[in-house]
């Protein structure tokens, strides 16, 4: 797979039964079922993890790092996503959770919620700048940033050009640790504890940055059992700067806009809902909207595919955690003051539709017309039995040369019926088969045996 199309979401071929569940749920139509197995079109996948959530066979997996990966560094810092605080039944404070991370072997902990507080401040500054397009679109959900690259390229200039809280946390955590302990920053590794596969992708193939500050990404569901086993409610972590509710609420839909403190903001969770609203933003339907926070998962990061707790339960629990947490941000003034400059993206975000083909406008129109004719020749049931998500998608696949009309079971049925009828006619019309008839019969038999698969 080319580096530009790195993906964390993968297929476990052994477990895939070739059903159409993920095919029908993929928001960017990035899945095809071919030879009875799902396959992912890398050019279109945005790592949202919808397929992971719906696959009953657990054939869709996310590649993340094992806990052992922290041994690659002399010093390892844990970067817990605020979502982690809502995963443990009976635990309503971050302290025992942070303390457990030290017990697991991390040398330090830097809450990503603190990164979120700093990023919130920087976003506020970006919003004050004149000439910024409206609405500014949050860059926090990496699946949404990729969705915009693939499906809504005209909105790329609306994406706020600041790193995510994860990146901000990694950068500041490593710098502070190296300085405080007088060690080489290269010896310090930052590990994000993630609810989401798209974050792994964002680290391996960063958007808007040359290199991620994060050195490894560990799935919450993978670290959960070890944490649960070591969890001690009475335990408190060493003295450190702690996140306030301002940062922690980023895990909940609307929390980011609230932390930024902007009134005319719109928050939408769930990838289909986000696609609807992005389409409306493209049409300039919301005139007074200043900020848009789009989250791929229902219930935001709490609904991430790599979490353990039910996201609705987690939402209640996080509220309870926030009731026991400091309400006001404690961040060093100089970090705040420089954030807007130091956390800026250094590279342009580029449109990304690898399936888009060039040629002159005339050639492109001819292709579109061929696709129209093919679509009209298909039944229009959008059943997915052909292995493409809709009849239109199959028509596009045929035009591209990656499928044939006989992938459609209705078209195949018609073809077999026609062959059968021809066989009967041939048999009845010639008592003594001519050589030509025999050859045609053999041809038909071969064709039929091909469809047997």
């Amino acid at each position: 797979m080319p580096a530009t199309y790195y993906h964390s979401v993968r297929l476990d071929k052994e477990k895939c039964v070739g059903c159409t569940t993920c095919l029908k749920r993929c928001p960017t139509e990035a899945i095809r079922i071919r030879n009875n197995r799902a396959s992912i079109i890398h050019e279109r996948c945005i790592d949202c993890g919808e397929c992971i959530k719906v696959c009953a066979s657990h054939a869709k997996v996310a590649v993340t790092d094992p806990l052992d990966a922290i041994k690659r560094f002399r010093y390892a810092i844990a970067l817990p996503a605020p979502t982690l605080y809502a995963q443990f039944q009976g635990v309503h404070r971050p302290e025992p959770i942070i303390a457990t991370l030290f017990k697991l072997g991390f040398d330090d902990v830097f809450e990503v919620a603190r990164g979120a507080e700093i990023v919130s401040h920087a976003i506020r500054q970006a919003l004050e700048e004149p000439d910024r397009p409206r609405p500014l679109i949050s860059s926090a959900c990496p699946a949404i940033v990729r969705l915009i690259q693939v499906c809504f390229p005209s909105l790329i200039e609306h994406i706020v050009d600041l790193v995510s809280p994860m990146e901000a946390a990694a950068k500041i955590a490593k710098e502070e640790f190296a300085q405080r302990h007088g060690v080489d920053i290269a010896e310090v590794g930052a590990f994000f504890l993630t609810p989401c596969p798209a974050k792994r992708t964002a680290v391996r193939a960063p958007i808007g940055q040359e290199k991620s500050y994060v050195d490894g990404v560990i799935a919450i569901k993978d670290i959960y059992p070890a944490m649960r086993a070591l969890m001690d409610q009475g335990c408190t972590p060493p003295e450190m700067d702690r996140a306030s509710t301002v940062g922690i609420k980023w895990a909940v839909p609307g929390g980011e806009a609230e932390a930024v403190g902007i009134k005319s903001a719109l928050c939408v969770d769930g990838i289909d809902n986000v696609m609807n609203v992005l389409g409306a933003i493209e049409d300039a339907r919301f005139r007074d909207l200043a900020y848009f926070e789009g989250l791929a998962c229902v219930n935001g990061c709490l609904g991430g595919p790599l979490t353990v707790e039910n996201s609705f339960v987690a939402k209640n629990r996080l509220r309870s955690v926030m009731n026991r947490t400091e309400q006001k941000t404690v961040v060093r003034r100089d970090v705040f003051d420089t954030a807007y400059q130091t956390l800026r993206l250094t590279r342009e975000i580029e449109p990304k539709d690898g399936l888009q083909r060039g040629g002159t406008m005339r050639e492109r129109i001819e292709r579109a017309e061929r696709i129209d004719r093919l679509t009209a020749s298909l039944p229009g049931f959008n059943c997915g039995s052909c292995g493409s998500p809709t009849c239109l998608a199959l028509a596009e696949d045929i035009e591209r040369g990656s499928a044939t009309e006989l992938n459609c079971i209705f078209r195949l049925n018609d073809r077999i019926a026609a062959l059968a009828a021809e066989m009967v006619t041939l048999r009845e019309s010639t008592r003594f088969n001519t050589l030509k008839d025999t050859a045609r019969l053999r041809e038909m038999r071969e064709e039929l045996s091909r469809y047997d698969d």
């Binding site: 005209s154 790329i156 493209e282 406008m361 005339r362």
Partner: protein, 139 residues
């Protein structure tokens, strides 16, 4: 010389389907790999035009023409026509009913917005006959 020509009818007062034509046109030009900035401007204008047809007109249609150099969007309806085009082209001026305004439409930004987003914009209207708008977007 146009290479692709499509025509879409728009029914008056049908809020259920309002936006469908603009969505179809957007899908088509995205499919054709039209540059993102042009897609954006065409989307803004066709959506605006379609809503205008639904809310203000007695029904009409939107035609799309694409050539190597430009996209042409032609909008026409069968009335009632605009009494004073200069006024209609003024930002904030609207004849929309309060019911329509309550739905978030009719802010009087429609026509000025279309003119701002199109590279070329022409409008003619006759009361009792209909309105005709042609917008050209250079690719």
């Amino acid at each position: 010389m146009e290479m692709l020509k499509e025509s879409y009818p728009v029914a008056a007062n049908d809020m259920t389907c309002a936006g469908d034509v603009a969505a179809k046109i957007k899908r088509r030009i995205k499919q054709l790999g039209v540059p993102a900035g042009v897609v954006r401007r065409v989307s803004v204008c066709t959506y605006e035009a379609e809503i205008n047809l639904v809310i203000h007109s007695c029904g009409g249609r939107i035609d799309l023409e694409i050539t190597e150099e430009h996209i042409l969007v032609h909008v026409c309806d069968t009335g009632p026509g605009i009494r004073d085009i200069d006024k209609a082209m003024t930002e904030g001026w609207s004849t929309a009913s309060s019911a329509v305004r309550a739905m978030g439409f009719g802010a009087g930004m429609g026509l000025p917005n279309m003119k701002r987003n199109a590279d070329e914009f022409a409008i003619t209207s006759e009361v009792g006959v209909g309105t005709d708008i042609t917008m050209i977007f250079h690719i």
